[in-house]
Protein backbone atom coordinates (compact mmCIF):
# COMPACT_ATOMS: atom_id res chain seq x y z
CA UNK A 1 0.00 0.00 0.00
CA UNK A 2 2.86 2.38 0.69
CA UNK A 3 3.89 1.79 -2.87
CA UNK A 4 0.58 3.27 -4.05
CA UNK A 5 1.18 6.41 -2.09
CA UNK A 6 4.55 6.94 -3.71
CA UNK A 7 3.20 6.32 -7.14
CA UNK A 8 0.10 8.45 -6.82
CA UNK A 9 2.34 11.48 -6.79
CA UNK A 10 2.88 10.88 -10.46
CA UNK A 11 -0.78 11.20 -11.34
CA UNK A 12 -0.92 14.95 -11.01
CA UNK A 13 1.70 15.42 -13.67
CA UNK A 14 0.17 13.13 -16.27
CA UNK A 15 -3.30 14.57 -15.72
CA UNK A 16 -2.39 17.78 -17.45
CA UNK A 17 -1.63 16.00 -20.67
CA UNK A 18 -4.94 14.18 -21.03
CA UNK A 19 -7.23 17.12 -20.30
CA UNK A 20 -9.18 15.49 -17.47
CA UNK A 21 -8.89 18.81 -15.79
CA UNK A 22 -11.60 19.43 -13.21
CA UNK A 23 -10.79 17.03 -10.43
CA UNK A 24 -12.24 18.56 -7.30
CA UNK A 25 -15.66 19.89 -6.40
CA UNK A 26 -16.08 23.50 -7.51
CA UNK A 27 -16.16 26.43 -5.16
CA UNK A 28 -19.61 27.78 -5.96
CA UNK A 29 -22.94 28.54 -4.32
CA UNK A 30 -26.38 27.47 -5.43
CA UNK A 31 -29.24 29.89 -5.03
CA UNK A 32 -32.33 28.85 -6.97
CA UNK A 33 -34.46 31.61 -8.53
CA UNK A 34 -32.30 34.11 -6.63
CA UNK A 35 -34.31 33.07 -3.65
CA UNK A 36 -33.85 29.54 -2.35
CA UNK A 37 -30.43 29.05 -0.76
CA UNK A 38 -29.18 25.50 -1.10
CA UNK A 39 -26.63 24.06 1.29
CA UNK A 40 -24.38 22.09 -1.07
CA UNK A 41 -21.63 21.34 1.43
CA UNK A 42 -21.70 21.02 5.17
CA UNK A 43 -20.10 19.14 8.06
CA UNK A 44 -20.70 15.39 7.88
CA UNK A 45 -23.38 14.05 10.21
CA UNK A 46 -22.03 12.44 13.40
CA UNK A 47 -22.56 8.86 12.22
CA UNK A 48 -20.22 9.53 9.26
CA UNK A 49 -17.52 11.32 11.20
CA UNK A 50 -14.94 8.56 10.90
CA UNK A 51 -15.43 8.35 7.11
CA UNK A 52 -15.92 11.94 5.90
CA UNK A 53 -15.39 15.45 7.21
CA UNK A 54 -17.74 17.14 4.82
CA UNK A 55 -20.72 16.05 2.78
CA UNK A 56 -21.30 17.56 -0.65
CA UNK A 57 -24.09 17.68 -3.16
CA UNK A 58 -23.49 16.17 -6.60
CA UNK A 59 -24.17 19.68 -7.94
CA UNK A 60 -20.62 20.71 -6.99
CA UNK A 61 -19.19 18.04 -9.28
CA UNK A 62 -21.05 19.07 -12.42
CA UNK A 63 -19.91 21.48 -15.13
CA UNK A 64 -20.67 25.21 -15.20
CA UNK A 65 -23.59 24.96 -17.63
CA UNK A 66 -25.25 22.05 -15.89
CA UNK A 67 -24.95 23.88 -12.58
CA UNK A 68 -26.45 27.02 -14.08
CA UNK A 69 -29.50 25.14 -15.37
CA UNK A 70 -30.42 24.21 -11.85
CA UNK A 71 -30.29 27.73 -10.51
CA UNK A 72 -33.37 28.89 -12.40
CA UNK A 73 -36.65 27.03 -12.66
CA UNK A 74 -37.16 28.27 -16.22
CA UNK A 75 -33.94 26.55 -17.25
CA UNK A 76 -34.43 23.41 -15.18
CA UNK A 77 -36.09 20.80 -17.42
CA UNK A 78 -37.14 18.90 -14.30
CA UNK A 79 -39.65 21.63 -13.47
CA UNK A 80 -41.81 20.70 -16.47
CA UNK A 81 -42.47 17.40 -14.71
CA UNK A 82 -43.28 19.19 -11.48
CA UNK A 83 -46.03 21.01 -13.39
CA UNK A 84 -47.35 17.73 -14.72
CA UNK A 85 -47.45 16.39 -11.18
CA UNK A 86 -49.42 19.46 -10.06
CA UNK A 87 -52.12 18.39 -12.51
CA UNK A 88 -52.19 14.84 -11.19
CA UNK A 89 -52.23 16.19 -7.63
CA UNK A 90 -55.66 17.66 -8.44
CA UNK A 91 -56.92 14.74 -10.51
CA UNK A 92 -59.59 12.51 -8.99
CA UNK A 93 -58.82 8.84 -9.52
CA UNK A 94 -59.99 5.52 -8.11
CA UNK A 95 -63.10 4.17 -6.39
CA UNK A 96 -63.17 6.74 -3.57
CA UNK A 97 -63.59 9.74 -5.85
CA UNK A 98 -60.58 11.52 -4.41
CA UNK A 99 -57.44 13.27 -5.55
CA UNK A 100 -54.30 13.96 -3.50
CA UNK A 101 -55.68 17.45 -3.00
CA UNK A 102 -58.90 16.11 -1.47
CA UNK A 103 -56.95 15.05 1.60
CA UNK A 104 -53.85 17.25 1.49
CA UNK A 105 -55.05 20.56 0.01
CA UNK A 106 -52.32 22.77 -1.36
CA UNK A 107 -49.14 20.75 -1.90
CA UNK A 108 -46.95 23.78 -1.40
CA UNK A 109 -48.28 24.11 2.13
CA UNK A 110 -49.05 20.57 3.25
CA UNK A 111 -46.06 18.83 1.68
CA UNK A 112 -43.41 21.32 2.73
CA UNK A 113 -40.76 19.44 4.71
CA UNK A 114 -41.99 15.95 3.86
CA UNK A 115 -39.23 15.06 1.39
CA UNK A 116 -36.58 16.01 3.95
CA UNK A 117 -37.51 13.22 6.40
CA UNK A 118 -38.05 10.30 3.99
CA UNK A 119 -37.41 7.36 4.02
CA UNK A 120 -39.21 7.23 7.35
CA UNK A 121 -40.50 4.63 9.79
CA UNK A 122 -44.27 4.08 9.58
CA UNK A 123 -45.67 2.90 12.87
CA UNK A 124 -48.91 1.40 11.62
CA UNK A 125 -47.25 -0.55 8.83
CA UNK A 126 -44.17 -1.29 10.93
CA UNK A 127 -41.84 -0.62 8.04
CA UNK A 128 -39.50 2.01 6.71
CA UNK A 129 -41.25 3.72 3.84
CA UNK A 130 -39.84 5.65 0.94
CA UNK A 131 -41.83 8.52 -0.50
CA UNK A 132 -42.82 6.25 -3.39
CA UNK A 133 -44.20 3.65 -0.98
CA UNK A 134 -46.19 6.30 0.87
CA UNK A 135 -47.58 7.71 -2.38
CA UNK A 136 -48.69 4.25 -3.47
CA UNK A 137 -50.21 3.61 -0.06
CA UNK A 138 -52.31 6.77 -0.41
CA UNK A 139 -53.31 5.75 -3.90
CA UNK A 140 -54.41 2.26 -2.99
CA UNK A 141 -55.85 2.58 0.51
CA UNK A 142 -57.23 6.11 0.45
CA UNK A 143 -58.09 6.71 -3.19
CA UNK A 144 -58.89 3.19 -4.28
CA UNK A 145 -56.67 3.80 -7.29
CA UNK A 146 -54.03 1.66 -8.99
CA UNK A 147 -50.47 1.69 -7.75
CA UNK A 148 -48.01 3.60 -9.84
CA UNK A 149 -44.97 1.75 -11.14
CA UNK A 150 -42.12 2.39 -8.69
CA UNK A 151 -39.86 4.18 -11.16
CA UNK A 152 -42.58 5.11 -13.68
CA UNK A 153 -43.23 8.60 -15.03
CA UNK A 154 -46.26 9.48 -12.85
CA UNK A 155 -44.40 8.41 -9.75
CA UNK A 156 -41.14 10.17 -10.45
CA UNK A 157 -43.03 13.34 -11.41
CA UNK A 158 -44.91 13.28 -8.12
CA UNK A 159 -41.68 12.85 -6.15
CA UNK A 160 -40.29 15.84 -8.08
CA UNK A 161 -43.26 17.94 -6.96
CA UNK A 162 -42.81 16.86 -3.35
CA UNK A 163 -39.08 17.56 -3.47
CA UNK A 164 -39.56 20.96 -5.10
CA UNK A 165 -41.75 22.30 -2.29
CA UNK A 166 -39.07 21.34 0.28
CA UNK A 167 -36.12 22.83 -1.55
CA UNK A 168 -33.66 24.51 0.77
CA UNK A 169 -34.76 22.53 3.82
CA UNK A 170 -32.13 20.29 5.43
CA UNK A 171 -32.32 16.54 4.86
CA UNK A 172 -33.01 15.05 8.26
CA UNK A 173 -33.86 11.36 8.15
CA UNK A 174 -34.08 9.45 11.42
CA UNK A 175 -31.72 6.52 11.74
CA UNK A 176 -32.39 5.46 15.31
CA UNK A 177 -35.34 3.81 17.03
CA UNK A 178 -37.33 1.39 14.89
CA UNK A 179 -35.56 2.51 11.69
CA UNK A 180 -32.16 1.51 12.98
CA UNK A 181 -32.05 -2.09 11.80
CA UNK A 182 -33.08 -1.06 8.28
CA UNK A 183 -30.39 1.61 8.38
CA UNK A 184 -27.82 -1.00 9.42
CA UNK A 185 -28.88 -3.21 6.49
CA UNK A 186 -28.45 -0.27 4.16
CA UNK A 187 -25.04 0.50 5.58
CA UNK A 188 -23.93 -3.07 5.01
CA UNK A 189 -25.04 -2.88 1.39
CA UNK A 190 -23.21 0.41 0.93
CA UNK A 191 -19.92 -1.17 1.90
CA UNK A 192 -20.45 -4.54 0.18
CA UNK A 193 -18.31 -5.04 -2.91
CA UNK A 194 -20.68 -6.48 -5.47
CA UNK A 195 -20.48 -7.90 -8.95
CA UNK A 196 -17.62 -9.21 -10.98
CA UNK A 197 -15.82 -5.88 -10.57
CA UNK A 198 -16.17 -6.18 -6.78
CA UNK A 199 -16.94 -2.53 -6.19
CA UNK A 200 -18.97 -1.03 -3.37
CA UNK A 201 -20.71 2.32 -3.30
CA UNK A 202 -17.94 3.44 -0.94
CA UNK A 203 -15.17 2.53 -3.39
CA UNK A 204 -16.42 5.13 -5.83
CA UNK A 205 -18.33 7.65 -3.71
CA UNK A 206 -16.43 7.70 -0.42
CA UNK A 207 -12.86 6.80 -1.36
CA UNK A 208 -12.66 8.43 -4.77
CA UNK A 209 -15.11 11.31 -5.04
CA UNK A 210 -13.57 14.23 -6.86
CA UNK A 211 -11.64 11.94 -9.19
CA UNK A 212 -12.35 10.98 -12.76
CA UNK A 213 -13.42 7.44 -13.57
CA UNK A 214 -13.01 7.40 -17.33
CA UNK A 215 -15.13 10.37 -18.47
CA UNK A 216 -17.16 10.65 -15.27
CA UNK A 217 -16.38 12.99 -12.40
CA UNK A 218 -17.21 11.07 -9.24
CA UNK A 219 -19.37 12.80 -6.66
CA UNK A 220 -20.25 11.55 -3.20
CA UNK A 221 -23.34 9.87 -4.67
CA UNK A 222 -25.69 11.89 -2.48
CA UNK A 223 -29.45 11.70 -3.07
CA UNK A 224 -30.48 15.14 -1.81
CA UNK A 225 -30.94 16.21 -5.45
CA UNK A 226 -33.39 13.49 -6.43
CA UNK A 227 -35.22 13.00 -8.60
CA UNK A 228 -32.51 14.15 -10.98
CA UNK A 229 -33.07 15.33 -14.53
CA UNK A 230 -30.20 13.81 -16.48
CA UNK A 231 -29.07 15.43 -19.69
CA UNK A 232 -27.84 12.00 -20.71
CA UNK A 233 -31.27 10.34 -20.86
CA UNK A 234 -33.34 13.56 -20.90
CA UNK A 235 -35.72 12.49 -18.18
CA UNK A 236 -36.19 12.53 -14.45
CA UNK A 237 -34.44 9.67 -12.71
CA UNK A 238 -35.53 8.23 -9.39
CA UNK A 239 -33.20 7.22 -6.59
CA UNK A 240 -33.70 3.50 -7.12
CA UNK A 241 -33.16 3.77 -10.88
CA UNK A 242 -29.83 5.46 -10.13
CA UNK A 243 -28.88 2.78 -7.60
CA UNK A 244 -29.74 0.12 -10.15
CA UNK A 245 -27.49 1.73 -12.74
CA UNK A 246 -24.57 1.99 -10.35
CA UNK A 247 -24.92 -1.62 -9.18
CA UNK A 248 -25.24 -2.81 -12.80
CA UNK A 249 -21.98 -1.02 -13.54
CA UNK A 250 -20.19 -3.30 -11.08
CA UNK A 251 -21.14 -6.22 -13.37
CA UNK A 252 -23.61 -7.36 -10.73
CA UNK A 253 -27.10 -8.74 -10.70
CA UNK A 254 -28.98 -5.69 -9.45
CA UNK A 255 -31.70 -5.41 -6.84
CA UNK A 256 -35.12 -4.29 -8.00
CA UNK A 257 -36.43 -0.75 -7.54
CA UNK A 258 -38.70 -0.81 -4.50
CA UNK A 259 -37.01 -3.93 -3.07
CA UNK A 260 -36.28 -4.09 0.68
CA UNK A 261 -32.57 -3.89 -0.16
CA UNK A 262 -32.90 -0.62 -2.08
CA UNK A 263 -35.27 0.82 0.54
CA UNK A 264 -32.64 0.12 3.20
CA UNK A 265 -29.88 1.50 0.99
CA UNK A 266 -31.93 4.64 0.35
CA UNK A 267 -32.38 5.26 4.06
CA UNK A 268 -28.66 4.84 4.61
CA UNK A 269 -27.57 7.01 1.66
CA UNK A 270 -30.13 9.67 2.61
CA UNK A 271 -28.66 9.74 6.12
CA UNK A 272 -25.20 10.39 4.68
CA UNK A 273 -26.67 13.62 3.33
CA UNK A 274 -28.30 14.78 6.57
CA UNK A 275 -27.66 18.51 6.67
CA UNK A 276 -27.54 19.06 2.92
CA UNK A 277 -30.55 20.82 1.42
CA UNK A 278 -33.34 19.12 -0.45
CA UNK A 279 -32.47 20.08 -4.01
CA UNK A 280 -34.74 18.05 -6.30
CA UNK A 281 -35.49 18.06 -9.07
CA UNK A 282 -31.80 18.61 -9.76
CA UNK A 283 -29.98 18.73 -13.10
CA UNK A 284 -27.15 16.30 -13.72
CA UNK A 285 -25.33 14.94 -16.76
Amino acid sequence: MTRTKLISGLIGATLLSTGAAFADPVDDNLIINEEIEIVTRTAAPAHLADALDEVMSGWLFRGTETRAMESDDFDNPGMIFVEKAMDSWETVEGSEGKSCASCHGDAEESMKGVRAVYPKWNDAAEEVRTLEMQINDCRTTRMGAEKWKYTGGDMVNMTALLASVSRGMPINVAIDGPAQSTWEDGKELYYTRTGQLELSCANCHEDNYGKMIRADHLSQGQINGFPAYRLKNTKLNSVHARFKGCVRDTRAETYKPGSPEFVALELYVASRGNGLSVEGPSVRN
Binding site: A23, T194, Q196, L197, K211
Partner: protein
Protein backbone atom coordinates in the same frame (compact mmCIF):
# COMPACT_ATOMS: atom_id res chain seq x y z
CA UNK B 1 -30.68 -9.72 4.45
CA UNK B 2 -27.16 -10.65 5.41
CA UNK B 3 -28.03 -14.18 4.39
CA UNK B 4 -29.49 -13.24 1.02
CA UNK B 5 -26.32 -11.41 0.12
CA UNK B 6 -24.14 -14.26 1.11
CA UNK B 7 -26.07 -17.06 -0.57
CA UNK B 8 -25.48 -15.33 -3.86
CA UNK B 9 -21.73 -15.65 -3.45
CA UNK B 10 -19.76 -18.15 -5.42
CA UNK B 11 -22.01 -18.85 -8.35
CA UNK B 12 -19.65 -21.20 -10.04
CA UNK B 13 -18.65 -20.86 -13.63
CA UNK B 14 -19.03 -24.49 -14.49
CA UNK B 15 -19.78 -23.88 -18.13
CA UNK B 16 -16.80 -21.64 -18.78
CA UNK B 17 -14.52 -23.61 -21.03
CA UNK B 18 -10.75 -23.31 -20.93
CA UNK B 19 -8.83 -24.17 -24.07
CA UNK B 20 -6.29 -26.94 -24.02
CA UNK B 21 -2.96 -25.94 -22.53
CA UNK B 22 -4.45 -22.98 -20.65
CA UNK B 23 -4.39 -22.54 -16.93
CA UNK B 24 -7.98 -22.13 -15.70
CA UNK B 25 -8.83 -19.11 -13.51
CA UNK B 26 -9.22 -21.38 -10.49
CA UNK B 27 -5.86 -23.08 -11.10
CA UNK B 28 -3.55 -20.06 -11.28
CA UNK B 29 -0.76 -20.29 -8.75
CA UNK B 30 0.20 -17.04 -7.05
CA UNK B 31 3.33 -16.47 -5.03
CA UNK B 32 3.45 -13.13 -3.21
CA UNK B 33 0.99 -11.80 -5.76
CA UNK B 34 3.04 -12.84 -8.77
CA UNK B 35 2.31 -15.51 -11.36
CA UNK B 36 5.46 -17.09 -12.75
CA UNK B 37 3.99 -19.27 -15.43
CA UNK B 38 2.37 -18.01 -18.65
CA UNK B 39 -1.37 -18.72 -18.60
CA UNK B 40 -1.27 -20.04 -22.17
CA UNK B 41 2.31 -20.78 -23.13
CA UNK B 42 1.76 -18.50 -26.13
CA UNK B 43 3.72 -15.21 -26.03
CA UNK B 44 1.52 -12.15 -25.54
CA UNK B 45 0.81 -9.81 -28.44
CA UNK B 46 1.68 -6.22 -27.50
CA UNK B 47 -0.68 -4.60 -30.04
CA UNK B 48 -3.64 -6.67 -28.91
CA UNK B 49 -2.74 -5.81 -25.31
CA UNK B 50 -2.68 -2.13 -26.16
CA UNK B 51 -6.19 -2.36 -27.54
CA UNK B 52 -7.48 -4.28 -24.51
CA UNK B 53 -6.09 -1.70 -22.08
CA UNK B 54 -7.75 1.18 -23.96
CA UNK B 55 -11.04 -0.38 -25.00
CA UNK B 56 -14.15 0.17 -22.93
CA UNK B 57 -15.48 -3.18 -24.09
CA UNK B 58 -12.35 -5.13 -23.08
CA UNK B 59 -10.04 -4.28 -20.16
CA UNK B 60 -11.13 -0.65 -19.86
CA UNK B 61 -8.02 -0.11 -17.77
CA UNK B 62 -8.00 3.57 -18.71
CA UNK B 63 -11.22 3.96 -16.74
CA UNK B 64 -8.92 4.14 -13.73
CA UNK B 65 -5.39 4.57 -15.13
CA UNK B 66 -3.59 7.17 -17.23
CA UNK B 67 -1.44 5.80 -20.04
CA UNK B 68 0.49 8.37 -22.08
CA UNK B 69 1.03 5.84 -24.88
CA UNK B 70 -2.77 5.70 -25.30
CA UNK B 71 -3.24 9.44 -25.78
CA UNK B 72 -5.34 8.61 -28.87
CA UNK B 73 -7.97 7.15 -26.52
CA UNK B 74 -10.08 9.90 -24.87
CA UNK B 75 -10.74 10.16 -21.12
CA UNK B 76 -8.33 8.42 -18.80
CA UNK B 77 -9.40 8.05 -15.19
CA UNK B 78 -7.37 8.89 -12.11
CA UNK B 79 -8.36 6.22 -9.61
CA UNK B 80 -5.17 4.18 -9.91
CA UNK B 81 -1.56 5.22 -10.59
CA UNK B 82 -0.41 6.10 -14.10
CA UNK B 83 0.76 3.01 -15.94
CA UNK B 84 3.63 4.91 -17.56
CA UNK B 85 6.80 3.09 -16.59
CA UNK B 86 4.92 0.00 -15.33
CA UNK B 87 7.40 -2.10 -17.31
CA UNK B 88 10.27 -0.57 -15.31
CA UNK B 89 8.61 -0.95 -11.93
CA UNK B 90 7.35 -4.52 -12.31
CA UNK B 91 8.57 -7.79 -13.78
CA UNK B 92 6.43 -9.73 -16.20
CA UNK B 93 5.57 -12.21 -13.45
CA UNK B 94 4.42 -9.41 -11.18
CA UNK B 95 2.41 -7.79 -13.94
CA UNK B 96 0.69 -11.12 -14.70
CA UNK B 97 -0.27 -11.43 -11.05
CA UNK B 98 -1.52 -7.84 -10.85
CA UNK B 99 -3.69 -8.12 -13.95
CA UNK B 100 -5.01 -11.61 -13.12
CA UNK B 101 -5.89 -10.76 -9.53
CA UNK B 102 -4.57 -7.47 -8.18
CA UNK B 103 -6.11 -8.10 -4.77
CA UNK B 104 -3.32 -10.51 -3.91
CA UNK B 105 -0.52 -8.01 -4.58
CA UNK B 106 -2.46 -5.02 -3.24
CA UNK B 107 -4.68 -6.09 -0.40
CA UNK B 108 -8.10 -4.47 -0.50
CA UNK B 109 -7.38 -2.64 -3.76
CA UNK B 110 -10.22 -1.24 -5.81
CA UNK B 111 -8.73 -2.78 -8.94
CA UNK B 112 -10.95 -5.58 -10.30
CA UNK B 113 -9.62 -9.11 -10.76
CA UNK B 114 -9.55 -9.83 -14.46
CA UNK B 115 -8.91 -13.58 -14.36
CA UNK B 116 -11.18 -14.81 -11.64
CA UNK B 117 -14.50 -16.64 -11.69
CA UNK B 118 -15.34 -17.38 -8.07
CA UNK B 119 -16.03 -15.66 -4.79
CA UNK B 120 -18.17 -12.81 -6.10
CA UNK B 121 -21.18 -11.31 -4.35
CA UNK B 122 -24.13 -11.08 -6.75
CA UNK B 123 -22.14 -11.48 -9.96
CA UNK B 124 -24.13 -10.48 -13.03
CA UNK B 125 -24.24 -11.14 -16.73
CA UNK B 126 -21.73 -8.48 -17.88
CA UNK B 127 -23.40 -5.04 -17.71
CA UNK B 128 -27.02 -6.19 -18.12
CA UNK B 129 -27.88 -6.16 -14.41
CA UNK B 130 -29.28 -9.67 -14.89
CA UNK B 131 -28.17 -12.88 -13.22
CA UNK B 132 -25.22 -14.62 -14.85
CA UNK B 133 -25.92 -17.34 -17.39
CA UNK B 134 -23.76 -20.22 -18.58
CA UNK B 135 -21.49 -17.90 -20.54
CA UNK B 136 -20.08 -16.50 -17.27
CA UNK B 137 -16.29 -16.43 -17.37
CA UNK B 138 -13.38 -14.22 -16.35
CA UNK B 139 -13.43 -10.61 -17.61
CA UNK B 140 -10.44 -11.29 -19.85
CA UNK B 141 -9.37 -14.61 -21.38
CA UNK B 142 -6.03 -16.22 -20.58
CA UNK B 143 -4.53 -15.01 -23.85
CA UNK B 144 -5.89 -11.50 -23.33
CA UNK B 145 -4.15 -11.42 -19.94
CA UNK B 146 -0.90 -12.45 -21.65
CA UNK B 147 -1.40 -9.75 -24.29
CA UNK B 148 -1.96 -7.07 -21.63
CA UNK B 149 1.13 -8.22 -19.74
CA UNK B 150 3.18 -8.04 -22.95
CA UNK B 151 1.95 -4.50 -23.51
CA UNK B 152 2.57 -3.31 -19.94
CA UNK B 153 6.10 -4.72 -20.06
CA UNK B 154 6.86 -2.28 -22.90
CA UNK B 155 5.70 0.77 -20.92
CA UNK B 156 9.11 2.18 -19.99
CA UNK B 157 9.86 5.72 -18.87
Amino acid sequence: MKRSIITAIALASTAFAVSAGEIAPTEVSFSDGTVAESLTGVPGDRESGREIVGSKKLGNCVACHQVSDLSDVPFHGEIGPSLDGAGDRWTEEELRGIVANAKIMFEGTMMPSFYKTEGFIRPGNAYTGEAPDDTFGPILTAQQIEDVVAYLATLKE
